[in-house]
Symmetry: C2
Subunit: 409 residues, 2 copies
């Protein structure tokens, strides 16, 4: 949580954190500023102090909404710095950062850096500042990010925002189910009133429309994959595929608040009309594993143990898993879940390689076991997003039936 | 144009260019790969040679669509590099890049770096590689980017894609005009069939719906600003504002292809029902300046001269401009236009500070003069996107009437 930042900075031996870029579609910045319309700026937070937000003059009002101390970047007179630098924008930018950091007492110490900038600019600017301020050490964090650690547990306001996205997500899922079941079949294929087959692309277009209507974004797209594609977890579905009755459809939908805010993550597997026995078999195995794991979740437990447990349960039912065969493309082939927040994938991680991540109070995680048999033309995944409440209870943030078969006339 | 890259690399004294990140929403990468669904990868192009594209194994097919030589990143065995690095992801990443660069002969020379990565990662990774390969010099370019220079002129395929976005943009503008004129007014306010006022938020929701329906994105939002907000060029409009008849509405719409592709940029100013005399006066001034500038555009001319000319024309009509008063918030307060492509704002630039940018053949630019009087509650801007054709003709890429008044019953 944001309230953990000072403690995490101490643990990471950082005197300050520095974040750059817009407030939208830039999770580290948006995490601290809240949902404001700032197209670019810089934020510095000293350990133990509130952040200072540097803004462009046209965005004064938006910056003020953050509630932090703000500083107008125009006061550093970029035009004059540009003259001193003989028109060199990079040198003028470095000089401006030198002035900003020095003015607020950040000319020495270890500063963690986060946010969004063209890679070339980031490399030159931070290298350049460090040359000017040799007592200062910039620290970039890969795979061990303080920001991701803070973001791994959510406060009540964040959970409300994720829950609201869950309500929108399941309302769109309801519309998709109604759309599909409102049509008839002809020769085992879903068709419209003129007898023309409905294809995956039609459904995805509807999904995008309904998400736009609800005022949310779909930055990562939607998985709506049928048959063999349903058996390939990373396939998002072929727009031209027709909807055969009795084939598995993996429908994984993960929209976010407009402006790059909080995500929700949700999967159901559907069969139109009926489910053949072999599909029903793997569906029931996934359902049972989903329900078992959900019932076994305990606050503060290590996440990787649930990945191991899921493999164990699937192996007991005779399915290959990545535990007994890391190269398998069949059976259970991915990890059980992940944290969800301003990124669709964040901490805690459920991979068996990650030893330290826990179901800490405030975590919001997905649980999404699945079975994949591409050669048999089928796959099943069931996923809910679950809040590990401070009282230790597990709460699914948006309810929706787990049913496999969608009736079709 | 892409075909200028080798020549530009020579001019910038670069032996190679290196681009990292996804192919979508990452213009430098998307520019070279074309519209493929690659969520992450690296591309290196040696001067005089075709690029090599490094891909993650699950995205082999997408990488192949680029038509370039491809290389599977899995062959560098990150798991083994991680062991050598005692689990340190940053060190393993640096080792992998060292192997990649050395294998393809890039362990020395000057390499320009571009693309998308967290700033902390960019700083640490490129600093780390440079330490390992001291003969190599990474170059980040601010304000003088080879990629932006190449992108500043478009080939026929790019112009077709921008034109197609123009057709979609103006079709949505038509729908917005039809939506507004299909309603009646009551007490000087636009209302729905139940007599409830229509607000800016209603219109924006429709715009997003129609853009989604057309399969395009709206990553930067839409300006639909009325009254005082129309007089503030950076205001996007207050969702709660009612639509008073006779007030200026600045409608600036700039959607992009799905996946972060080519943009179109378009502005009209509307008055519902009627235009008061003072509005008509500034509208006619803007229209005349727009038409004069459009008629004076000449291939290979310096862009800044048109900014100066626009100021001169507005000053002749008695309006303050940023030329005679750089601090003015009234009159003509911004620059005349900008290049449009994979970024909404790119080269050529029309600012009077930029001395070198020209209307080179293949440029696609906006022309968007405007007048702003926030204290008088009004603003007018007219904007088209224009292609500087190789034959020297100027072509507006999507036609739409410049009319001010939308009739309302």
């Amino acid at each position: 949580m944001k309230s953990d930042l000072d403690q995490l900075m101490e643990k990471h031996d950082l005197d300050a954190i520095f974040i750059t870029g817009p407030a939208q579609h830039n999770p580290p910045m948006g995490y601290l500023t809240g949902p404001i319309h700032m197209t670019g700026g810089d934020l510095i937070k000293k350990r133990g102090s509130d952040p200072i937000l540097f803004y462009n003059p046209m965005e004064r009002d938006e910056a003020a909404k953050s509630g932090y101390t703000t500083k107008n970047l125009a006061e550093y007179r970029f035009d004059e710095l540009l003259k001193i630098s003989n028109g060199n924008i990079l040198q003028a930018t470095i000089l401006r950062y030198e002035k900003m950091l020095t003015e607020f007492g950040f000319s020495s110490g270890r500063i963690g850096i986060y946010g969004k900038m063209d890679v070339g600019s980031a490399f030159e600017i931070f290298s350049g500042i460090q040359q000017k301020l040799p007592e200062l050490e910039f620290v970039g964090q890969l795979g061990d990010s303080l920001m991701l650690q803070a973001m791994s547990t959510k406060d009540a306001d964040e959970v409300d925002r994720i829950r609201a996205m869950g309500v929108i997500t399941t309302s769109v899922v309801t519309k998709v189910a109604d759309f599909l079941t409102s049509h008839k079949s002809k020769n085992g294929i879903l068709v419209n009133s003129e007898g023309v087959p409905i294809v995956v692309g039609d459904v995805k277009k509807k999904i995008n429309l309904w998400l736009a209507e609800a005022g949310v974004e779909n930055p990562e797209g939607t998985i709506f994959a049928i048959g063999r594609d349903a058996g390939v977890p990373h396939s998002s579905g072929n727009p031209k595929d027709i909807l055969n009755l009795g084939q598995t459809i993996v429908f994984d939908i993960f929209p976010s608040e407009a402006g790059g805010g909080y995500f929700y993550d949700f999967t159901r597997t559907w069969c139109l009309g009926y489910a053949p026995d072999e599909v029903m078999d793997i569906y029931e195995d996934v359902l049972e594993v989903y329900q078992t794991i959900e019932s076994e979740l305990e606050v503060d437990a290590l996440c990787n143990q649930y990945q191991d447990r899921t493999c164990e349960l699937f192996e007991e039912k005779g399915h290959p898993t990545i535990k007994n065969n890391p190269q398998t493309q069949e059976g259970y082939v991915h990890s059980l879940g992940h944290g969800v927040g301003l990124y669709i994938h964040e901490y805690p991680r459920f991979s068996s390689n990650v030893k330290e991540d826990r179901l800490a109070p405030g975590s919001v995680v997905t649980v999404e076991p699945g079975l994949y048999y591409p050669e048999r033309g089928m796959g099943v995944r069931l996923e809910n997003t679950i809040w590990v409440r401070p009282d230790g209870e597990m709460e699914i943030l948006a309810d929706y039936p787990l049913d496999l078969v969608l009736p079709v006339k």
